[in-house]
Amino acid sequence: MSKQLNVALIGNPNTGKTSVFNALTGLNQKVGNYPGITVDKKQGICKLSRGVKAHILDLPGTYSLNASSLDENVVIELLLNKNDKDYPDVAIIVSDVENLKRNLLLFTQIKDLKIPTILVINMSDLMTRKGITLDIELLEAKFHTKIALISTRKNSGITELKQLIESYKTISTEPCLDTTTIDTDYFQSLEKAFPNQDIYKLWLVITQDANFGKITRQELDVSKFKTKSNQELKRLQQKEAIKRYQFINAILKEGQIIDRSKATGLRSKLDRLLIHKVWGYMIFFIILLTIFQAIYDWATIPMDLIDTTFAGLAEWIKNTFPGGGKVTDLVAEGIVSGIGGIVIFIPQIAFLFFFISILEESGYMSRVVFLMDRVMRRFGLSGKSLVPLISGTACAIPAVMATRNIENWKERLITILVVPFTTCSARLPVYLIIIALVIPEGYIIGLSYQALTLMALYLLGFGMAIFSAYILDRILKTKHKTFFVVEMPNYKLPLLKNVIITVIEKTKTFVFEAGKIILAISIILWVLASYGPGDKFNNAESYVQTYETQSAHERSDQIAAYKLEHSYIGIIGKTIEPMIKPLGYDWKVGIGLVASFAAREVFVGTLATIYSVGSASEGENIDTIKTKMQNETYADGTKVFTLASGISLLLFYAFAMQCMSTLAIVKRETKSWKWPILQLIGMTAIAYICALIAFQFLK
């Protein structure tokens, strides 16, 4: 059996920790979950010599062992629990050569836990350019550690790092700071109360924000030992930070020389432009436009390809196995189309994460937060929420995934909850046909009524998103206080390898986690639409009357319409008719609403089937459906589609949560069914009320 050793990768955000992880593990990595929370668990395997494998855990980026978010709490929970299966044999602290002093604060904390610790100094290729000289031997001796100077950009130092990992047993576990010197009296009495415990660990447990950790708090019952008020504890923590910096500064004074005259002005030059009061916003606007163009327009090329490929595949299966009966139908129309419905999202997800990871890697995203914070915070959103909100206009699925970059959980949750209000591209076909149907052609100051209506719908979606964020910000309570401290990292050229790995990883997450739910629901929807109880469905041919003038096409369209009417989905449509009647819809629209759950644009296709124009060619299809819908009347001769019912339907589509794929991804991102269900009920209720008021008012 080959021996495996556990390695934990720890470091401040923006130090290139993920690059080190990628360099060590390549594509041998997977993303899982920590049980019960929404933090991604990234782990990978790194092969060392002689068949030894290192299991590398990439812990969330943190500035210190004092957790201020769920992500950071993961780090401390693991490091305080020796029984955890991931408890590291050796810790690697990734630091950035330009921020060594601050990175070392975390290093000294980890050292004090008496875990063998390797210090990685990343971006060492920049040392000469930045005028930094390090005395590695001295630093190794004074910090009781081994140092690996690496550059993930130049791919240097990785082999040396692997050798250090392998010889981890030779690394000293001597702590950096004697905890008791922070406050001698207090720590002596603490030692007396818990004689068998490590004093620094005790101190950490006592000072952690009670809202996060389960940790060993109960086990130790430190609550009995609360001899200090919160304010006093905070003072001691400040004193601890000062002591740590004194220790670090004393060593760096000898071991590090910085020639400040060499510092390049790249940061200040770029900052002057990128966060300028006018240019900054304009550049951000152009970047948003580019992202929008990519996922709204460029992505349609591969999407169309995927669409035709899967349609062709389904057709091929039906033709190749004609004897298969229901099994062939299930595979071709249920499963293959269902998988096609998942794969179709990949281009948009890939495009969006391509851009987002470039924005994050380059350091630009922090500037966006800086620019947008004042506006967005009023609505309980983060500056980073703007990218998901704009992307939502193409599709809510990649947009919800993009919220992962928002550190604050409340802001992330609000963004996830309101993103589906923005007008996604699947609503567009529905809008277009209904607008064409009920909004008169005509112009006001050179602008067509129909175009104005469409624009109003886009604004309405965005406005609703912002408005509900404002409301949610006041309703949702978080247990812990939020604060705003954003590091403004150095500008860096993004590493292509990191960008590609992010794109692959996000796509995989979507396909394998949200995909399962989407496939299951689409098969259910397919079954509901393709089967029905009783003779009317199963023997539709004998119920549909034949006319002499009828072509074969027309007849099969009519049978298809009759079958849909008597399928399970048709029955559902008829059952909900009393509920949707006050909104101005009949049961045929009801079927369309239910079928829309697969994807909103299905509404148009479903109506085509039900008005028996299914087999008409694409172009004439829309016109035919339009004419059919226009002539559609109730038994008493009044029209079904009027201005009132049309506006009501537009509003319903603008606000209702009708997309199972969005629900699936929200479930994946919030790790619970609570939020998607709340979203489904809340949004649909808003939609229902708005549509009801509109119809009753305009009728």
Binding site: Y63, N230, Q231, Q237, Y245, R374, F484, V485, E487
Partner: protein
């Protein structure tokens, strides 16, 4: 008059004299907002909020309300 980071103008510097207010996040202290360290106000967003500063070799953005809790002494250059 009590001077805080929030009173600094763009490009001005100060030395932190007190950062013990309970409402200052610990994270900020650990990033180096500690007495004795120099603060350099680099840029301001519209309406002077948030503020972009350099302290202890760290580049940070904080909101004005937090900045107004960190007491400083101005350095005249």
């Amino acid at each position: 008059m009590r001077l805080t980071i929030a009173n600094l103008k763009k490009g001005e510097k100060g030395i932190i004299t007190d950062s013990s207010s309970e409402d200052i996040p610990l994270k900020l202290l650990e990033m180096g907002c500690l007495p004795g360290n120099e603060v350099h106000l680099l840029q301001l967003a519209p309406f002077s909020d948030p503020m972009y500063l350099n302290v202890n070799d760290s580049f940070l953005a904080i909101r004005k309300e937090t900045a107004s809790l960190i007491v400083i002494q101005k350095i005249d250059e």
